[in-house]
């Protein structure tokens, strides 16, 4: 090796085809801390770090073999003190003096290596940040998509709800109409005149009444108010209606009618944990021949009786509402009336806004007037009270003129 190459400002060494060290210049020996004898004939792995041994074997051996040269390869050498020395390596495979050798040049690059390390770290951080940003963006897009789907679902649900509401309202209106068709028409004859008024609340009715001419002289009048409103109350009302209609028409005794209704209410809720619905009711059986009224008032507002002189009498409740306590006995009250008396039956939907005093005085004031006038006056009074209390309850009113 000539002196210039030996002292060149870069490491220089040659390898045999089997990667054994053939020569090393002084500069490289100094870098590695070996003398020439220690390296001559050693495999190149002797001066490579463990990672570089792998890298050399995997990349450099095949690369040199196939391409005959490599350029600018970063690799780390290993000094006599086991220190890793990062270097840039160029190598050429060529024929020299009749044999194939690999000539290599290495330049230590400690400072540049540090810079590259920093660059790599910065690059990795940038990639990590970019990935995080992309992930955040895609998460956001997913969230947006999910929200859109949920919003669409909500809109769909809302539509269904709206349709359900409309359907239900239509059904409710129909049900109300059906209920109202069950209300009886007025009875007017030589013995008696019966007029009624009904105004339902916004919901299905829990009020129900009926009056029937049983035979030539007997009339049955019933008025009920099932606790609550809505579907369940309405259905109970309907079931009670079929019972009392059957019983009244065949002229059953007052207490029989009331007992059957009471039993029915108890039987409805016998096997469930549901709280039973109870019902206030009053039933009057009028005999126009005897001028006698048999009645039972179960928890219902009093029934007003006024004689032709304007004297008033209250048929007060004498027992708890139906469906409340089981196995209670029913006691029928009896009173007589004289010609020209008036009866006024109502539910609490009428009593509460007006008060029983107002009702009594209205009946008294219009005692000489036709029944229809009295009815109109009461209805007008109810209307006047309406705005203060927007019809929460059903209003039922029955007026009777006992001729």
């Amino acid at each position: 090796m000539n002196e210039q190459l030996n002292e060149a400002p870069c490491g220089y060494f040659t390898l045999s085809e089997e990667d054994a060290i053939l020569s090393v210049n002084q500069t490289l020996l100094k870098i590695l801390g070996y003398n020439l004898d220690q390296l001559n004939g050693q495999p190149i792995n002797f001066i490579l770090s463990a990672s570089a041994i792998l890298f050399h074997q995997l990349y450099l051996v095949p690369l040199i073999k196939l391409e005959n040269h490599i350029e600018e390869i970063y690799i780390s050498l290993k000094s006599v003190d086991d220190e890793e020395i990062p270097v840039l390596l160029n190598a050429v495979r060529r024929e020299r003096d009749g044999r194939t050798i690999i000539e290599c040049v290495v330049i230590p690059m400690r400072k540049r290596n540090e810079l590259e390390n920093e660059l790599l770290i910065a690059k990795k951080e940038a990639v990590t940040a970019l990935n995080a940003r992309n992930k955040a963006y895609s998460d956001l897009e997913n969230a947006h998509e999910t929200m859109k789907v949920q919003k669409d679902k909500l809109i769909e649900l809302n539509k269904k709800n709206e349709k359900y509401k409309v359907d239900t309202e239509r059904e409710m209106d129909l049900a109300k109409k059906i209920q109202e068709t069950l209300l009886p028409v007025p009875i007017i004859n030589e013995h008696v005149e019966i007029q009624a008024y009904y105004k339902g609340s916004n919901q299905l009715s829990g009020d129900l009444y009926g009056f029937y001419q049983i035979d030539a002289q007997r009339y049955g009048l019933i008025l009920l108010d099932v606790m609550g409103h809505g579907l369940s109350s309405a259905l109970i009302t309907m079931s009670l209606q079929s019972i009392f209609q059957r019983l009244i028409i065949k002229g059953s005794e007052v207490k029989t009618v009331m007992k059957e209704l009471d039993d029915h209410l108890h039987s409805l809720f016998k096997n469930t944990s549901e709280t039973g619905h109870y019902c206030t009711a009053v039933y009057l059986l009028i005999d126009t021949d005897k001028r006698e009224i048999n009645y039972i008032n179960a928890g219902h507002p009093s029934v007003l009786l006024q004689d032709m002189n304007g004297k008033q009498y209250q048929m007060r409740s004498n027992r708890p509402p139906l469906g409340m306590f089981e196995d209670m006995s029913f006691k029928t009250n009896t009173l007589t009336y004289n010609k020209g008396s008036k009866l006024c039956l109502y539910t609490d939907g009428v009593e509460e806004p007006l008060g029983s005093d107002r009702l009594c005085s209205l009946v008294k004031t219009y005692s000489a007037a036709p029944l229809s006038t009295l009815k109109e006056e009461i209805i007008q009074s109810l209307r006047n009270e309406e705005d203060s209390d927007s019809r929460k309850d059903d209003q039922s009113l029955i007026l009777v003129n006992l001729k």
Partner: protein, 273 residues
């Protein structure tokens, strides 16, 4: 035959024989590494060369980070090629990690293969103290990955530069086309991590085909102890120590490689007769 797979994996079929012989490269290499060895078998066999997706002239668009995050993904490449060519009883020749890839493929579909030739195989490169010697500590393997990171730029520009600065030397262009280890840096890095941190020791016992292990002398990547370990755990295996040194005898010592493979196959053929 599925032409998409043949394009995707840059499959090349040559030779005048009927018995298929498929060559799988090692880590980061393309099919050109087999040139000298494969040529010698062309007369007797049907030679099949291919590149893994991401290597050589494969269709890089087909690369899928998830699929190629394990060696099974690469084994699927081998199976796809076998299926596309409708291979049966092929002789599989693998180098380095290509050996494990071939073993995994043969476990899944043994019918494609008849025997395995394993050049410089290693089921696991990591050392497990008191249990297994793979040759490398974790830090050393991480150092390799680091070295790959730092050489990306160097390679990419070096290759490009050679072409640009030598317009009057078209043979360099050809060199570039046939370049070795021409793998996308990001793919190469993932392949390196998948390869060097894999532990397929448990799969050895599942291989049912006869196999030949070619163990180089002084192989720092797959040391002799590893070759012996494989021989011990791989059923029906033959171990041949080579005079060739290093890790790539098919490149550095093609003659010895060819003669050992021929010898092994001939023994079988004789037995078959």
């Amino acid at each position: 035959m599925n032409p998409n797979i043949l394009l995707r994996n840059n499959v090349k079929v040559a030779g005048s024989g009927t018995r298929p012989m498929i060559f799988a490269p090692g880590f980061g290499c393309d099919q050109n590494v087999w040139q000298s060895v494969a040529k010698d078998f062309e007369e007797e066999y049907q030679i099949i060369l291919f590149d893994y997706v991401g290597s050589g002239n494969s269709d890089i668009e087909a690369y899928n980070v998830e699929r190629y995050s394990t060696l099974e993904g690469y084994a699927q490449d081998v199976l796809d090629v076998c299926s596309a060519l409708d291979l049966k009883d092929a002789i599989f020749v693998g180098h380095s990690v290509g050996c494990v890839i071939g073993m995994l493929a043969s476990i899944k579909h043994p019918e494609y293969f008849s025997k395995l030739v394993l050049v410089g195989p290693s089921p696991c490169y990591l050392n497990f103290p008191n249990d297994y010697y793979g040759g490398f500590e974790k830090e050393q393997l991480l150092g390799l990955i680091d070295m790959m990171d730092k050489n990306y730029i160097g390679w990419a520009t070096a290759f490009a530069g050679t072409v640009m600065n030598n317009p009057d030397r078209p043979e360099l262009k050809r060199d570039l086309e046939n370049r070795f280890c021409s793998t996308d840096p990001i793919i190469a890095r993932q392949f390196a991590e998948v390869t060097f941190f894999a532990d397929n020791r448990k799969d050895l016992a599942k291989v049912k085909l006869p196999s030949l292990i070619l163990q180089c002398s002084e192989d720092v990547i797959a040391p002799s102890a590893v070759g012996e370990y494989i021989h011990k755990h791989l059923p029906d295996s033959t171990l041949k120590m080579m005079k060739a040194t290093g890790h790539c005898p098919h490149i550095s010592h093609p003659e010895e490689t060819i003669s050992l493979i021929s010898q092994y196959l001939d023994e079988f053929n004789t037995n078959d007769l």
